[in-house]
Amino acid sequence: MPPFSQRKHDRVLLALTLLMLASLYAWPLLTWAPNRLLTGHALPWSRLANGWHPLLWLPGMLLLPAWALRPRRLVWLATALAAAALLAGLCGLAGAVAAEEAARTPFGRTSFGAAFWSMALLCWLTAAHCLTRLFPRHSSRSIAHLLLWAPLGLLLASGRMDELSVLKEYANRQDVFDDALWRHVQILLATLLPAIATGWPLGLLAFRRPALRQALFAVLNIIQTIPSIALFGLLIAPLAWLAQTSPWLARAGVGGIGMAPAVIALALYALLPIVRSMVAGLEQVPAAVVEAAAGMGLSQRQILLRVELPLALPVVLAGIRITAVQTVGMASVAALIGAGGFGAIMFQGLAGSALDLVLLGVIPVVALAVVLDALFSFFESLLEIRP
């Protein structure tokens, strides 16, 4: 098989285009229900005819034949832009149709259908595929992604999508949502900061003393194995007992349920990736560099601060990234023990089987995780460029 650059067409783009067509054919783009609790049915294509359609067929026309063009920079750039424009067009169309339907029936709810979500994913993958080829360097690629998707954020902020069901749920519960966001961030910080403050010194100690390392990793591995919901449950009893026996702890907010057991459990989980990344980061520092530093007369403390830690930084940062993403996700389970956060909205939606309320809890959790991941990856890529 000839290498990619000599091939006449792009099979990946072809597959993505076919999947887009298939999902548009098989699934509804938008659904409509008479009220927020009923399951929606598909809005027929005839109802989707709206002023936004040039923003759909123009990029669509560009995307359809893109796979057959000879792969080169101009094609990739145009395809990435077309994918972003198509998604923006779909969002705009959804918002406009929702506004039309809302004018007709005030209690009706217009929601995204399965085809919308798969189109969003496929547009994103198409753009990612092209940007990877356009920008081999990670840091410039991140900036390109940011520029490409910023118009979507503007569209959301402009209020043109406000009549869609998810955003109506948001408008109805803005206070709850803001509280949940604040609480989720609070849990994240209250978990990460103490976990880092203990994890880094522990990692350093474990690096210097192999015997300690084995015992420490054995314990941390077992903790990591226990499912989060079980660890939350197991912490309830001892913490409730602590709160009973020492009232000052109870006054400080420690109890069987609430934020305290959640943060303790999440910090325990966070320790393994943080300690492991510190040890791995220090281990990959070449022995020759350390010896050279010692030969130059640096003290052990200076070697640690000026040679070992700076060289370990990329790996350590990757550890924090993994921990932060993991914690954001697990914190949503903590809602089950009354810690609040977006998980509370998610489980409330599940209890009432209101999909849009579930999405109001799920989307920000995923967004928070993706943003943290991208942010830390960006910092990591900046470190890598440095010689």
Binding site: M1, F4, R11, V12, A15, L16, A114, L121, L125, A128, H129, T132, N221, I222, T225, I226, P227, S228, I229, A230, L231, F232, G233, L234, I236, A237, A240, G256, I257, V325, V328, G329, M330, S332, V333, L336, I337, G343, M346, F347, G349, L350, S353, A354, L355, V358, L359, G361, V362, V365, V366, A369, V370, D373
Partner: protein, 236 residues
């Protein structure tokens, strides 16, 4: 062993829990027997993990063949983004779409379980030295023979590590699946949390935690056995 004993013997621990929580009328979860819950939990994990292994390893192999290599960067990006999704989120979205009960849980577990297995398979196949592959080619082995007798055995430890991660995550997610109406070891935890019955919570949590540790140890043993087998193989 300890896991089975605990599941069978939980009802006998009634006096202990009533001593710990004297205010509770029924200190032991009785809606289902713990053995049934344990079996249902294991069935759900197996029912999602076995197809996930087949799909994940299959896709991993396909993406490393010459005709599938082009798709690899794209799939890797998709998997990376998929793993920033918390497993609960997949479960929570699947339930209202597919309906409540065991089915959405199985589908969510299968989808989420795929990612670490696929990642493990790709990483494992990447560790196979090109020299081994070329040597096998030089010996006249077919491409299929190279895959089954060279690549997969050499990649096995990393693939197994991926499966291990996937199964452990699924054991935890299956417990949360009781919030969407599936009967698992998470049921006592959820019932206990909503009814302020800490004894139920502890009973469920103990069994779920123990199940995860037992499964992890089993994988540890399998990995060690794999190492022995490979060691013996290279000695010959």
């Amino acid at each position: 062993m300890a896991l089975l004993a605990l599941a069978l013997g939980m009802p006998r621990l009634g006096p202990l829990f009533s001593a710990l929580y004297p205010e509770l009328d029924r200190p032991i979860y009785q809606q289902d027997s713990f053995v049934d819950l344990l079996l249902a939990h294991i069935a759900m994990v197996l029912g999602s993990s076995v197809p996930a292994v087949a799909l994940g390893v299959g896709a991993g192999i396909a993406l490393t063949r010459p005709w599938g290599r082009e798709f690899r960067p794209l799939v890797e990006t998709a998997v990376a983004i998929g793993q920033t999704f918390p497993p609960v989120a997949v479960l929570a979205v699947a339930a209202p779409l597919i309906g409540f009960g065991v089915r959405p849980a199985l589908i969510a577990l299968l989808l989420y379980g795929l990612l670490p297995i696929l990642q493990g398979t790709l990483a494992g196949l990447a560790t196979v030295p090109a020299a081994s592959r070329e040597a096998a080619q030089g010996l006249g082995m077919s491409t299929r023979g190279i895959l089954w007798r060279i690549e997969l055995p050499l990649a096995a430890p990393v693939i197994l590590a991926g499966i291990r991660t996937s199964v452990i995550i699924n054991i935890g997610t299956a417990a949360i699946a009781s919030t969407v109406g599936a009967k698992t070891l998470g049921s006592p935890i959820i019932v206990g949390l909503s009814g302020f019955n800490s004894a139920y919570v502890i009973q469920g949590a103990l069994l779920v935690g123990l199940l995860a540790i037992v499964a992890d140890q089993a994988f540890e043993r399998a990995a060690r056995r794999l190492g022995h087998w490979r060691g013996a193989g290279t000695a010959v």
